[in-house]
Symmetry: C2
Subunit: 448 residues, 2 copies
């Protein structure tokens, strides 16, 4: 286990007692100052997280709301930046599906050739105020939800959730997948854009705080939040100018997909965390994500600098017929939920999710409780009834992770590594400890 190299390692190198005492006094002063500075910086970050009030403000075409997608054959992906050659197979398959969906290629193999020869531009969605679950591909024509953090004015955009089974985000790219994406573009997106104009902005912070009371942890269990969102929006969806059958299809699609809210929860967390970037000295993690090749984090005090290490594999429950040998490495931007006190950090509220990934209600609570050791605060609005209405652990502190050796607990879906299969399980994944070590070294360098 990594230990911060302060005082203990320096003292033995000194010669005289006086010298040693002098140095120790000076080091203690520096340490006190450092601690105060870090504490203040982290307090500032926590305040920004607690005060965030994120609204869903609308829906629109990705190319019109995300600068990178406004021109050329451009795609965003999940995790830190990655080139085609380094992409894992599930992400490559999703890229090929997106290229076919956009009409850039006739089939996945032509699309792969385009990507290989550099005719598709790639960037990390995270670098453009966007996120996506699993492969997280965002292409220009896709509809996106639009978010605004009312307290701080920053915005974000996230794709619509496709449902379970064979989906682009899990690396499937067959005709059924493309057909659904087209329907989302032509029917679902415009209807939700109109419905949100009619309803006005919807507070997602409020929906999640209620969902936590009803068994969700708002990462891999979104049943209650999805229901809260549907009942809130249904009246306005019905008021749109769309035809009766189209409205029926939209409401059926939402009702049939308990992960409808996943992408909204991700937008909430992205838009919350981005308000807390760049507080000098802060050791709080503001982003965790993986592209299936590398796991990356952001730390508030390090701004938008990517700190990466090889992507880990999840430990989990596999659906019948599948095993660890079929799994793609962990992939996706949804781990931003955990930085915001949700997902694994709120698992104590969601025994149903525990059941899905094979742990008891008590273990769910233990997992969440352990996260208090590596965080700076309790979320004031996300409270777990059966943990005495404690707020969920909020604000992962790089120092505390290294001091305790306790890694953030993240729950995740597991994708098949081959195309056209989709999700094959769900489980727990831990970030590689290297990212926290590297971050701490950079933070220390910044203080010198």
């Amino acid at each position: 286990m990594y230990k911060l190299p302060i005082i203990y390692t320096i003292a033995p190198l000194l010669h005289s007692a006086d010298e040693a005492h002098g140095f120790l006094r000076s080091a203690a002063r520096r340490k006190r100052k450092e601690i105060m500075t870090v504490r203040e910086a982290n307090a500032e970050v926590i305040e920004r997280l607690q005060k965030a009030e994120v609204f869903l403000t609308g829906a629109g075409r990705a190319s019109e709301h995300i600068g990178f997608l406004s021109a050329g054959k451009s795609l965003l992906h999940s995790g830190p930046p990655v080139d085609w050659d380094d992409m894992c197979s599930a992400m490559k398959n999703a890229v090929c599906g997106a290229a076919v969906y956009e009409g850039w290629a006739r089939d996945p193999s032509e699309a792969a050739e385009m990507a290989r020869s550099g005719r598709i531009r790639f960037a990390s969605a995270n670098d453009y105020h966007a996120v996506g679950p699993m492969a997280g591909i965002i292409s220009p024509s896709m509809p996106v939800w639009l978010f605004e953090n009312r307290t701080y004015g920053n915005r974000a955009a996230v794709t619509f959730n496709e449902g379970l089974g064979r989906t682009l985000r899990f690396g499937a790219n067959g005709e059924d997948v493309i057909k659904r994406l087209k329907w989302m573009e032509e029917c679902l997106g415009p209807i939700m854009s109109e419905a949100l104009e009619l309803s006005g902005p919807v507070s997602l912070t409020e929906i999640v705080s209620r969902g936590i009371q009803r068994g969700d942890e708002a990462h891999n269990r979104n049943k209650a939040c999805t229901g809260l969102f549907i009942r809130k929006m249904a009246p306005y969806i019905a008021l749109t100018r769309a035809g009766r059958e189209e409205i029926y299809e939209v409401l059926k699609f939402f009702d049939g997909n308990d992960h409808t809210f996943l992408n909204l929860s991700m937008g909430l967390s992205k838009c919350t965390m981005e308000a807390a970037y760049g507080v000098p000295g802060s050791t709080i993690v503001t982003c965790m994500c993986t592209n299936g090749h590398e796991f990356g984090i952001h730390v508030s005090g390090l701004g938008e600098k990517w700190i990466t290490a090889p992507a880990p594999y999840a430990k989990g429950n596999y659906f019948k017929g599948y095993g660890a040998e079929d799994a793609n490495p962990a992939m996706g931007d949804s781990y931003v939920s955990e930085t915001n006190g949700l997902g694994g950090f709120a698992m104590g509220a969601a025994p149903g999710l525990g059941k899905f990934i094979g742990i008891t209600p008590r273990e769910c609570m233990q997992a969440s409780a352990a996260m208090y050791s590596i965080t700076c605060a309790e979320h004031e609005r996300f409270r777990i009834p059966f943990m005495g209405y404690s707020g969920t652990p909020l604000g992962i502190d790089v120092r505390k992770v290294l001091d305790t050796g306790i890694l953030p607990v993240i729950n995740t879906g597991i994708a098949h590594k081959e195309p056209d299969v989709g999700q094959i399980g769900a489980g727990i994944v831990y970030p590689p400890v290297e990212v926290f070590k590297k971050a701490m070294l950079l933070l220390e360098q910044g203080q010198e």
Copy 2:
């Protein structure tokens, strides 16, 4: 505390040891036989409760589905049968509101005179396969939900929920109340009738089993179940021939009323319990209700015989500005939920309700857990995650209530005793112990 008069009380009256032993042996044989018979009878009742699968099959006009309401100026009320003179003030006020709503009287005072002079017929809804919350008034023109227990073929009908605040069921009868009832008759009822024709029957047993996983106890907390119902029905409501604005109003009304599902939960429990009536020898309670004057129960082995005692008052939290002196006695048919393992018996699943009535999550669990002492089984489908997925306590046994002295715990809304106020609080109410004593005496007589 009442104790069953077996062996202990009889032995001292005997003269010789032989005689005493002979009698004791004979009593023990009788007791074993009785216990076996009762046990078998209760097992039969429990099986019927466990196997019940209740569907919402439609909606229609009360007069067309409840025989008693098909002719004349007829009203059903909650609780056991009661005459006008004995009705509590909140029920009288609701009766007057219903008479004005039906156009039988111009105002509440004229309606009161009609009722006083015998020009309105009254009956207990319970005696006509119907139930209603609080005053539980069902008048001929009101729309009702229609239920069917698919396993046993029996049916039930329940009014639509009016929302919170000033409502007929809480004894309010002003213009706003009548106007809402008219809208429910002319707009809401027909739209839901058409929507249910489009959707086909909806399993309420399934919705409640999910709601229990999400913080509901399906009596005074119905937030999750209401959401599950709305998301299921919204697509079909949107498909009806109704105008866009009317559909919007219906979806807004449901979303604005977390008790939308209360009346559906009551229908589920009524339709479940009625399949378990009349099993000879069974000591299981099949109905609990009160009209605000008398509390009444049914016991399976006693068929449809009413066993009554004076209505108790609830102990509870009052809304600001109100206190116990303003309260109407406990009133309503919704206590049928508790006979079906819901409400107070499922409170361990619903810490949010505990908060509302002023108890902690732990106390919620303790209240539910105590009910295992007076019931015969755990519900196979209503399971409480944080109590190790135990089924809720099912089948109140009159004998166990008297043996332990533990009374069923019921949560309830509290009505103001004067008209046009409505709900003034919520709390806990216990049935009067007399009903269990009387029932036990009748059951013992039946065995002789």
